[in-house]
Symmetry: C2
Subunit: 388 residues, 2 copies
């Protein structure tokens, strides 16, 4: 793993290939928000399954009532906290507002490097798997804030004094991702959000308690993936997701914006670009054909992704249509990704190092040969040993 050396002020342009016509993304075009106003997208069969009082699940394995019951429960705390104010959907269109007041004065601080170390220590204790810090670049902040209540999108800016973003990585349950596509597999997303909610809000309250300002955010407010790349937590993958060196693509991302003076992290490279250029497993595995077989591009397939930045981008329309037809979320592109491994095992830590070398094509063959990424029967998950 190499830290990318960048010069201040220039490093975003070194790290990303951003064209001059780049525009901040309007939240109104996010596929979930679009489904609220764009008649070409009918999300009914997707959302109806989140209301267990009315939903009649299928009888097929992984899509039974028990599976939906647990998937919905995994979201419960996130929904309860996020939807308590009818005018906001905190965590999805709006940032969180559950902090209690901090002290009247800002606390004295150690050097920014020491501050960053303490923030990362606190985040790890509060449930983060990885934490990185970057300066906020307004290009990642949504240009407009969408209201699901009014259907309107209003121009949005984050206050300038919130200069830093702390990016939190929460791993998703590995065993659950093996069962995808399935309703039960969707629990790995739900619990990922719930853990992120607790961690980001806990961390924001901690910073508030130091006398500084902090705003906790999940999918709302800003694009998480480029911020995570900037904060040294991973690289873009072909599946359009963040690939981390510790959990591969099996992560949720949350963030805390703050005026606490912090030392920032340098971006990393560990061969993802080269590996994804050789590998097509996510593109081949996607039933919706939503993932491109070709090279990274700066023009997205439709209005639901931001344009003017060269990267692999999933076709959100095709992707979401598949979710709707399946009555749950999908993440086959996480399951089949050769980076989706259990890195607590030494052999997988070795493999990810070798994937960043001329051996990458051999490793890809080995991955196929060993049967990694194949779907496990969802009912097997229910019968797993309960000891962690």
């Amino acid at each position: 793993m190499r830290r990318i050396k960048t010069s201040p002020g220039q490093y975003l342009n070194q790290l990303f290939s951003i064209s001059k016509n780049y525009k901040r993304f309007n939240q109104r075009f996010d596929i979930f928000n679009r489904s609220m106003w764009d008649d070409s997208i009918d999300p009914k069969a997707f959302y109806v399954s989140y209301d267990i009082t009315n939903y009649k699940p299928k009888k097929s394995e992984g899509f039974k009532h028990w599976d939906y019951a647990l998937r919905n429960a995994s979201w419960h705390l996130t929904d309860f906290i996020g939807e308590r104010n009818p005018e906001r959907v905190e965590g999805f269109t709006d940032y969180y507002t559950l902090h209690t007041q901090g002290p009247p004065q800002k606390m004295e601080l150690p050097a920014p490097e020491e501050c960053s170390q303490r923030i990362k220590r606190a985040a790890a204790m509060l449930g983060a798997g990885m934490t990185g810090i970057c300066e906020i670049d307004e290009r990642w902040i949504y240009s407009h804030n969408f209201s699901r209540q009014t259907g309107e999108a209003k121009p949005f800016d984050l206050p300038e004094h919130l200069k830093y973003a702390i990016i939190i990585i929460t791993p998703m349950d590995y065993e659950l991702t093996k069962t995808i596509p399935s309703a039960i597999g969707g629990s790995s997303t739900g619990i990922g959000y719930t853990t992120s909610l607790a961690c980001a809000n806990g961390l924001a309250q901690f910073i508030t308690n130091l006398g500084y300002e902090a705003v906790a955010s999940l999918n709302d407010t800003a694009l998480s993936i480029p911020m995570a790349i900037q904060a040294g937590l991973g690289e873009y993958g072909r599946n359009g997701l963040l690939i981390t060196p510790k959990y591969g693509p099996r992560v949720r991302i949350s963030k805390v914006f703050t005026d606490l003076p912090l030392a920032i992290d340098q971006p990393i490279e560990f061969g993802v670009k080269q590996f994804c250029n050789s590998c097509r497993k996510c593109a081949d595995g996607c039933p919706a054909k939503a993932i491109d077989q070709g090279k990274a591009q700066d023009s997205p397939p439709n209005i639901s992704s931001h344009s003017g930045i060269k990267k692999w981008t999933v076709n959100a329309e095709k992707c979401f249509k598949f979710w709707v037809n399946m009555n749950t979320d999908c993440a086959i592109c996480i399951r089949v990704c050769p980076y989706n491994k259990d890195y607590s095992k030494w052999w997988n830590r070795w493999a990810i190092k070798l994937s960043d070398s001329f051996l990458r094509k051999l490793l890809l063959k080995l991955d196929n040969w060993l049967g990694y990424g194949q779907r496990k029967k969802p009912d097997e998950w229910w019968n797993l040993d309960n000891l962690k």
Copy 2:
């Protein structure tokens, strides 16, 4: 580790030594509730530190502003959810009421053994470290429900159809417990509660989604430790705490009461009684002298513990007075306990097996010799590596 074979209807009396004058515990006498109405207990210096806007921390290591800032943040979600209704203190005097409605019909169920397996699988996914199931014995249910708002305690009964309790064990952060006594060490309690809150409420919502009734509870409603012993999760230790075979005493306990038909667990023995008879580390280590050096007894030191059951009982008055004087909670009896080890290491898993043999006194000497249980400097915790 041995499962204790018990016969239905009799097994509580086989497992616990309960005298005929046993009475259900009145929540009003819990030391925290007592501090609200009993003038002999002055909790001010304890509670004031939980309001960071007014508190002026000391300058000593582990008790600085940063330490309190994080400790309070670790409690934030638990406080926010638990205190949202001014008439209830959910998780502490009252059970939780945040569930959304379930389906109109009860779902068809597999055999109780299979139901229990699925419940434990779901709990593990939602954050539980261990899960056990027992039948509810009304002797563990508080006789009276205390209201902090009115200062009154009203007779309380759990509905009879809630026949089972699912007991959830959430581990506390090992590295943090090493710093106790310290404000930062109190974060291990706060985050333990927050994880328990998410897990117990997620599990109760899951059962609700199956069409059954479920009530999530932390310290409210019933005595957690005897229920956890009954559910096969551990034994009573000299420090009055539950000693588990997976985390020792380093746990928080939460529970879900339900009418879902479940198979129950058998209690376990792994030599804790014999070991605690030989060991006095918690009693010697307690600055408040709140832990008895003698044998287990059925008469508690004061009204803040239930009587008529033979066990080691901490003197809650002395214990809490020490907390108040220190301006944070204490758990030296967890830190110094020879069962407080990292059982992900094979050598500690061996040691706990040997502690259940004639080698227990030798192990105790080895424990002292190797320096286990000594306090680490709190500032070292802030500088630990952030990789888990």
